[in-house]
Each structure stands twice: as C-alpha cells, then as structure tokens.
Symmetry: C2
Subunit: 328 residues, 2 copies
Amino acid sequence: MSARRGDRTLCGGIDLGGTKIQAAIVGDDGKVVGDARRATPVSGGPDGVAEQMAEALVEAGTMAGVEPTDLGGVGVGAPGTVDKDGAVSSAANLPDWDGSFPLAEHLSSALDTGVRVGNDVQVATDAEARLGAGRPYKSLLGVFWGTGVGGGLVLDDKPWLGLGAAGEIGHMVVKLGGKRCPCGRRGCMEAYAGRAAMEATARREHDKGEHTDLFKIMEKRGHDRLKSSVWEHALEQGDSMAEKLIGRAVEAIGAAVASAVNLLDVEAVIIGGGIGVRLGEPYVKKIERRMLKNLIVDERPPAFHVASLGDFGGAIGASLLWRPAPES
Amino acid sequence: MSARRGDRTLCGGIDLGGTKIQAAIVGDDGKVVGDARRATPVSGGPDGVAEQMAEALVEAGTMAGVEPTDLGGVGVGAPGTVDKDGAVSSAANLPDWDGSFPLAEHLSSALDTGVRVGNDVQVATDAEARLGAGRPYKSLLGVFWGTGVGGGLVLDDKPWLGLGAAGEIGHMVVKLGGKRCPCGRRGCMEAYAGRAAMEATARREHDKGEHTDLFKIMEKRGHDRLKSSVWEHALEQGDSMAEKLIGRAVEAIGAAVASAVNLLDVEAVIIGGGIGVRLGEPYVKKIERRMLKNLIVDERPPAFHVASLGDFGGAIGASLLWRPAPES
C-alpha cells in the first residue's frame, strides 16, 4: 500500500458525530484502505475535538501506509452549520461548541494538508448517490433516521445546499399544532420520528403507567438510552409501545417524504441513519407504503432503498469533498 | 412595430387556464406588445381548445403587427402533466381532456411556427424569477394561491422540474390524518387553502346553519362561485367565516412554505395566483409570519414578495420557453 504514497489518489475523510469520530483513508474507487475511531471528547471544547480528529486521521493513515501530507486532501462531515471557509457553528450535539469554530483552518494546520468541511448528512447523501444505493439516479433524497432525522439532496448529480442549510427534512411540518419537537417548534416530523423524541415520549408514557419492556431491554443490554438495537429487540418481542411509537414514526417519515417528493419529483429516496439501517428493508417498505398515500404522481413513485455504505458512509462522503462530481 | 417583423426578437406566449386562454406577444425585455384573450371552450375537447389558442395568438400578433411565422417561437403554459414532446395529460381542469393530447404538434402545424409547452405554474414562476419580483434571487419558490395551490421552483437560476412534475406544494402534507383534499388524499395544504376546497367548506358550514355573508356577496356581484374578489370583500366586511377560513389557509400555506424552505433553503418566496395577488401584501406578511414559526434557520429567513407580473405572468413565462436562462 505504500506504493500509493504521494500519488494523491487517496483522500482522507472524517465523520464528526456527537459520540464518535470516524476517520478513513479512501481510494478513488471509494474503498476504505485505513480507518480509526475515537470517542468525541466530552470536555476541552472545539480544540479538544479537533485534536482527536487529527489523531484519528493520522492513525487511519498509518494503517494505509500514508502520511496526511501524501493525501489529496482531508474532508470532514460535521453537524451544525458549515460556512464556506469551513467554520462550524450551531453544532448543538458537540460539547462546549459555542459560537463558530474555524475547524478547516485548525485541522489544516495540524495535518499540514488541505481540509474541506461539509454538513455530515449532506456528505453521507453524496456518498450514497455516487458510490452507494443511489448510484443509478441523478436526483435523490437521503433521509437519515437516527437521534434526529436529517436529510440531504442530490439534484442533477450535484449536492443541493441552498444557502448552506438545505435538507432539514426532520423539521418539515407534518402536523399543524402537533407535538413539540426537541428543536422547540411544533409538528415537525422529528417530533414523532427522532430517537431522542421517541425516547422522551416512551419515558413519559412509561412513567404514567403504560406498559413497555423498552427500558428493561435497555438495562439488560447495558445501555443508558434507547439505542436503535433496543428498539429493534422490543419490536421483535412485540412490545406494544415500541410498535405504537415506531408506527407513528413511520407515518411521520412517510408523510414528510411524500411532501418532499411532491415538491421535488426526485427519482429515488435512500433511507439511512442508525435506526433506518438497523430496522432495514421491512421498515423502509413500510415508509414507502405510507408515502404512497400522499404521493401526487403515484403512477411512477420514486425508488426506495436502504443506505448501503454502512458505518463508513459519513467518512467516505467527507472524502468526496475532494472529488468533485463530474459536470453533467 | 412592423419594423420588428422577421427579426425574431418577439416570441408568443399562451397561458392555458380552465376558464380562459391568455395570449401575448412578448419582446426580449419581457414587454407585452400584443395580447388577446378567449374563454376556454367548454365543449369540443382538446381540438377545440387548440383552435381557440391558435386564434388568440394570431389576434395578439395582429395587435403587435406580426404573423406567427415571424415569431422566434410560441410557448404554452398548460395545466396537468407535460411530456418532453409537448403532449399534455392529466389536465383535470380542462373540458373533455382525456388521455394525452399532442398540443405542441397540433399548435405548431396550425401556426406554422415552433411551439414549446411547459407547466403553467412553472413558467409563471420562471417569469417572476427572470422578469418579476424574483429578479434579485438565484433560487426561489413560487406559490400560486388560487382555485388550487400550485408551486414552482427556480434553483441556481434554472427551473427545477424533477422528472417533470416538481412543484406540487399544494399537496405537501400539513396535517397527518387531516382534511380530505379535492385530490382525494388527506391533509394536503390545498385541502385548507385552495379556493375550491375553501368554497366547499364554506357551503357545508353555511348549510349547517353557520352565519356568513360570503354567498350573499357572491350573488350580489353576479358570480356563481366564491371568486377571489368575493373573499376580499367578505374580509373587508369582517365576515367571521371568511376570516376563519382564510386564517386556516394562511396557516396551511405558512407551514408548507416553512417545510419547503427547511428542505431547500432558497433565497426567496414569491406569492402569486388569484387570491394571493388579490389579497396582496398584508396577507403575504401573514403567511411569512406563520412560516417563521416553523423555519429552522430563522436568523436569515427568505425574502417574501407578491408576484409582480400580474395577469400576463403566465403568458410571459410561456414565451420564456424560447429564451433559455443564461448558463450560470
């Protein structure tokens, strides 16, 4: 692998999440040739996070036999708002990340190579479009169903960012005057479908005396929150509250996807994210069926797929920031 | 004006609506130099409609001093689904328009000039983007609030059509399990905001004994349906049912626009259509305020404007099918 040194066909990608940092060294065919993972530090603020990101990237490089300076560049997928210079703000899931932090500048000087920063969900969507389940399509909607519900758009083979913050499918309104969302607004799709919102609802109903095994399963598996695997096991056991809440989530996602497809008439919808991938094909089918009820051009519905790049999708997508899509 | 003969700087535009056909001869600056109007024939099917369209265009040409063969081409904005060859189908508002009718081919041979056909709402949006209220912006959403609620998108200075049917903002879901829409689905924005749906609701509530002057105003003005002017007068008189139903419409449009902007992060929203233009600025402000409640990036909301091209917007937009947007 050291033969690749300096030929710049390798790029780095880092997926920055609220709990973990995933770094990868990626070939121009999208193959991961080195990877490393770190926990996102809970203290030390943006400087501490950037330091762990740099270390993870160097470690992934060591596995691939390259130094950061040998790479074509390093891409980062970050939560929150990313400006043109690679500064990151409004990253509510990252510890002590107040105001705007010049992440690209910081990492670039730490790694001595070029760094580009994009939105985490958008780069994951781009990865699915160019290398994953979305490859056959020129336009698609990516829906990442996890703690929240994020979205990304590829239109005419190019990522669509709008003024920088496009893709907020989780905050499309599915119910006027409906449930309060973790974002503070009412009736957002995420208020029904996000894992954080579903956990809050489950706790409230459990405290009120409604039966569920969700929290027993959580404790048995040594978790302190309702991870995707907990929901999966509860569904397998036929837990009625899990069925009810996941049913509502499917309804909300289906309605929001119908709204998005009615507005954009894209060719395909890719469902990813922690819960999306964990529950997989059968639940993607349920979302598709619910969507059809509100789809206006229902004689040619969009194709539905589960995201196919798995855990590395975010890091691979970040590396694509150095491989612009061909002009169409 | 006859000096322009044959120099091809003039194009024709025809806006085909359910009640009227508006033809215009349009200069390359967007100025209308000739116009004519016909009632959409209620019998005779697509052939009869095409004949009236051709006659209207010839009459508009006479006013401008040009023959159809002197024009750079003729564009048509049609309701329903338009395919690449200019055939129109699913035009539910047009009489006896069953199946697909080759409108471009038909008109082209009648007028002996090139004919292109686009979706009526999309061409009106394009007109606002290039010549009207949307000129300062590269990306915008057009919302045409009338009998139904149609939408159009301009992204990166180009119309976004998706697979051909993008822009159906009226059928975005604003209320899971909500009101039945004239399209048959549940919870669509148009079920609350479309003039046809509002009229049906008003009639039902009036028949049940709820007070309103809407139908008295309608009769006094010699109409047989609740036209935009009827709603306007009822609002001016403080009619409580008109206030309630228009209030709900504003809420539904505001929520759907918030959903669309959260997804696309466009720079501007243009509100047009029969009711939109009639109620104008004060109601556009109300829609904007309602939208802000569900806007996720609320520190930089999109600009809101009333459509500025008036009655000729559709015909002008249709003529633009012969003036492609400059490459960005």
